[in-house]
């Protein structure tokens, strides 16, 4: 793998892992009972991003590839289920809407301008 791409992917997945870990931590700490499956998925995605970043850094190509495949499957499955049967998910996960979920806005910022993004 191109070393520039490899290190930039490490940066990308580190940022994704940081964001997902923060989101999952707050969700689980504050209201895990409301949507345990959704918040567990968020936590799993956070761990997955961190594992992929570490695997890319250590050049564990099979681990990185398997992790990316798992991520793709998660985005497609959770994203599709969110549209097909939204009742399964009382709240949004990192992968809801194929990764475009904005639920974080609702639990951290009650102001009206925030609800529009």
């Amino acid at each position: 793998m191109n070393p520039i791409a490899r290190l930039l992917l490490v940066v990308v997945y580190s940022v994704l892992g940081l964001a997902s870990a923060g989101r999952a931590t707050v969700q689980i700490a504050e209201k895990f009972h409301e949507a345990p499956v959704a918040y567990t998925v968020s936590a799993v995605s956070a761990v997955l991003y961190i594992v992929i970043a570490f695997a890319l850094w250590r050049r564990w190509e099979k681990v990185a590839l398997a992790g990316s495949a798992f991520e793709l499957a998660g985005v497609l499955i959770v994203g599709t289920l969110g549209y097909v049967n939204s009742e399964l998910w009382p709240d949004e996960t990192v992968w809801t809407g194929y990764g475009s979920a904005t639920a974080g806005c609702r639990w951290c910022c009650p102001s009206p301008p925030c609800s529009s993004w």
Binding site: L7, L8, L18, R59
Partner: protein, 140 residues
């Protein structure tokens, strides 16, 4: 908090914009890597100022969303080390690590990795700072 919203927050956004702009230029032409290093140094100073201001603001106010704001602040600060990730790919760092899979970068590759990382971190830091500011504005 007026000082934060009228000076520190705009300064953070300017720093983020500079990271993205200069980072893009460094990816295109690695010769201006030194300029990016100046921008990174300035970003560290502004991020430290932001951290101090936010902590002071959080301590002096009764924010119900204190943990979330602190989380965003920690995330902002945690992004900073990624700005210099290319230093881990220098030949000296590779030799010191003893890891055969350690990436070894040429000088122009080091510059381009730093440029790409600056773009990513600039965007992420701007978003996190924006969320911190929204929380502070709502609380005040």
């Amino acid at each position: 908090m007026t000082f934060y919203t009228s000076f520190v927050y705009p300064a953070v956004l300017v720093a983020c914009a500079m990271l993205v702009i200069v980072g893009t230029l460094v990816v295109i032409t690695a010769r201006i890597h030194r300029v990016l290093q100046w921008v990174v140094s300035g970003t560290y100073v502004i991020a430290a100022l932001q951290g101090i201001m936010v902590i002071v603001g959080l301590v002096t106010s009764q924010m119900s969303s204190l943990p979330v704001a602190l989380g965003y602040l920690i995330a902002t600060l945690a992004l900073l080390p990624l700005l210099g990730i290319a230093r881990l790919g220098t030949p000296d760092a590779a030799a010191a690590s003893g890891d055969p899979n350690h990436p070894v970068l040429a000088p122009d590759q080091i510059a381009r990795v730093d440029g790409g990382a600056a773009i990513i971190v600039g965007i992420a830091m701007a978003v996190a700072s924006w969320r911190i500011t929204e929380l502070i504005v709502v609380a005040s």
